[in-house]
């Protein structure tokens, strides 16, 4: 028996391949059922116009009961968007990735949410505690207990 999580991911992947992703979201790499990469662009009029970012998804065997670990990829040629909820190491403070995760959400749904989070941004800035957090942040953002204090996005 193949696990529920693999079958569910397989279905999501098939749908992406057959139907495509929403505008601005593209599947970059999905070679296994543990780590997937997407590119994310904000369409239309926004502070992030013309910028492309890379998202990394990591799945646990309990997916979709447990949320995926989602972060922006930061490397020599890739940066995390400058946003009040995105740390410079790529970690994202968004409730749907933590306490507000629901098993009916999907990878594409998360991408769309993050896209709209960027689109609605009023001012490009890092979170106030960026330096302190980045210095001590764990590798996996799921190990961070975020405090969600902004309901506006």
């Amino acid at each position: 028996m193949t696990s529920i999580s693999v079958r569910r991911l397989q279905k999501e992947l098939t749908e992406i391949q057959n139907e495509g992703c929403p505008v601005g979201i593209n599947l970059l790499k999905a070679d296994d059922f543990q780590t997937w990469f997407f590119t994310l662009e904000v369409m239309g009029d926004s502070l992030y116009q013309g910028e492309a970012y890379t998202l990394m998804f990591r799945f646990e065997p309990q997916y979709p009961i447990s949320s995926p670990a989602v972060q922006f990829v930061v490397s020599h040629d890739k940066q995390a968007p400058i946003h009040p909820h995105v740390y410079s190491n790529g970690h994202i403070c968004a409730s749907i990735l933590g306490s507000e995760w629901s098993p009916v959400l999907s990878v594409v749904a998360v991408c769309v949410t993050l896209q709209s989070m960027l689109a609605s941004c009023k001012k490009k800035e890092r979170p106030p505690d960026n330096d302190r957090y980045v210095r001590t942040a764990p590798d996996n953002p799921k190990k961070t207990v975020f405090h969600y204090d902004d309901d506006t996005v």
């Binding site: 028996m1 193949t2 696990s3 529920i4 999580s5 693999v6 079958r7 569910r8 397989q10 279905k11 999501e12 098939t14 749908e15 057959n18 139907e19 999905a30 070679d31 296994d32 059922f33 543990q34 780590t35 990591r58 799945f59 646990e60 065997p61 979709p64 009961i65 447990s66 670990a69 740390y87 970690h91 403070c93 629901s102 098993p103 009916v104 979170p127 106030p128 505690d129 330096d131 302190r132 957090y133 210095r135 001590t136 942040a137 764990p138 590798d139 996996n140 799921k142 190990k143 961070t144 207990v145 975020f146 405090h147 204090d149």
Partner: protein
Amino acid sequence: MNLMDVPDPTDFPVESTAPGLRSLDGSFRCDICGELYDAPVTISCGHCFCSACIRTALANKQECPSCRKVANEAHIRSNPVLEMVISDWNKARPFILGLLKNKVFSPNAQDNGISKKRKRSSARLSSSDAVITGTSRVTLPPSPSKRHRAKSKSETPMEITTLSSDSDEGGPSKPSGHALKSNDLVECPICAKRVNYSQLNGHIDNSCRDTTTNKSSAEGWSKILGGTKTKQKGKHKSKHSDSDDEYPLPIQSYTTLKDRQLKDMLQQYELPVTGDRPIWEQRHQRWVTIYNANRDKSVIHRKAKAELRRELKSWEEDLAKRKKGADHTLVDDPISYQITHKDEFAKLIQTARANKERKSSPITASSPTDLASSPSDPLN
């Protein structure tokens, strides 16, 4: 990557080619696992999921995954009508796909029943690594469940009319003329179980779920009160009979249980006690989930306990296998982590010591706190 043939709504053509079919197939699927509903249940908000899926989700968080309304296990009600719809769709689906693909009837395109999807998926996995699209799928023998139901439908009204036309005295009789006493055992026309004749009507009214009336009150009490050690042994033995589907298993709060008790609980259901305490808890929790989910199916679709045990075993093996892989990506090897982050640890220790000397400043309530970071950092 090992691509499998996992059926999903996109097997059907788009709306313009085959109106409604793709979304119909989507409507028959659980939003959690994406499979056609397996033991469909509804919760108080009306949303529908596979029993096992929603039970697992509610154990994690007590809200409806779709609308976030508060929900708990007690709200779960089985949905036999939808179960029947799914059972029929399982048969119609490959047939319709076959029609769409070939526009001709081919007997091979039939069946492919997903009520046996767990079995089927493994069979399919071993059969090929390639993606099989559309119709040419592994053919399984047709499920007999439908015939069973049709038979029961035709028989039930006849029996009822016979019974109601009978006078009270002398006892009711079967059409054959053979007189039955009230405590004679007769076969229930629906579930084929042997039931006391006098209780047959009640049994059918109860949707073939047994009432406790045919058991001695002492036995009933021992079940409620847990009974003595010897009584439990007896109960344990009766686990193989059909009647033990009577009640759902309670969800345990494992922290209050001693190892011994937890082991007993596993052995009570003939589950292995290999591994350590977290494994036992995980095993028991999953057992309760699949046991209760199996109860949410109508009687004819229920699986035997032995089959549930096999499913539990493969679930455990799969989880262990995936966990191994996932740990590799999610958690670094602690030794190498210590080596690569040596400087950071040194800095943290230094900061902590400095803090201690200053008799620790009040903890700042800033947004992210993680296990590795020091609660207050004066250098920042």
